[in-house]
Symmetry: C2
Subunit: 180 residues, 2 copies
Amino acid sequence: MEHNLQHTISLLTRTPAALNALLRDLPETWTVRNEGEDTWSAFDVVGHLIHSERTNWIPRARMVLQFGEAQAFGPFDRWGHQRESQGKPLAQLLDEFARLRLENLAELRALHLKPDDFARRGRHPALGVVTLSELLATWAAHDLTHLHQISRIMAHQYREAVGPWSEYLGVLKCAGHSSP
Amino acid sequence: MEHNLQHTISLLTRTPAALNALLRDLPETWTVRNEGEDTWSAFDVVGHLIHSERTNWIPRARMVLQFGEAQAFGPFDRWGHQRESQGKPLAQLLDEFARLRLENLAELRALHLKPDDFARRGRHPALGVVTLSELLATWAAHDLTHLHQISRIMAHQYREAVGPWSEYLGVLKCAGHSSP
């Protein structure tokens, strides 16, 4: 399936509400526990999504449009959310994510991208040449990879509790996020 | 983390709303496509969750309480949802899942389980002896395994569109659900 801006926006619009419905007011045993040393909790993942809204997608889209391949994106700090999120309640992070996403989708629409723009090229500091279309598709897929990760982190908390059923639960066999 | 009935109920309560927020009115390219032959779409997974509400969790909990190990659960038909869901709009399935979950949580509360009950034993046709506590923990983890699967099915639709970023997206590396 090729990238389609309307499909991307449809998904990006829904993620904050989905995470809100899943996580708000859940007991902390689900939301602040992780999968072991140097791994993330659901709380951390929401913090990372906020940090990405601030520093990743729209700023990088602007760089593609403004500089093309001439200037590489700045590196993304995958632990950059830690200081920003520390001590905040999860409900506040969920609100913040929803607000930033709404603002960024408004910015995306305001770019008035034309069909030709999607092939425009930028430079990723590690991956090399990427297109605007790939960047936007990745924004949506990044939501999904973290929803996937949150489900896995939460399921991990019941790894022992499910007893022999663990054999049937694919989420307990996932090695998709060996690093965060 | 041990099984905790209130934590299980907290999660079970939220899943229908989370899936509703994620999936309702999404373009069908996200919801009816699967990962290839003999795999499920997000639509199929919601159908399976409905089928499980009808035939799996509460009926099996009743069997544990009534027959203990003396009588094995009936086998669960993992394709049992197909006939039930066929031709229905996804919005109707989401409503149906929410309604059945609400009813089943009311039934669960009406069982008035006491601490001793969680260790009561039943018989799974393939896994052998299981406890009521394991069954209830699995009900919650089963929601998570399918949220995990839905995220993966949807991300798969953008596997090509993300270009070189696929390297960073854990969801595209997950082999946790080799069979549905």
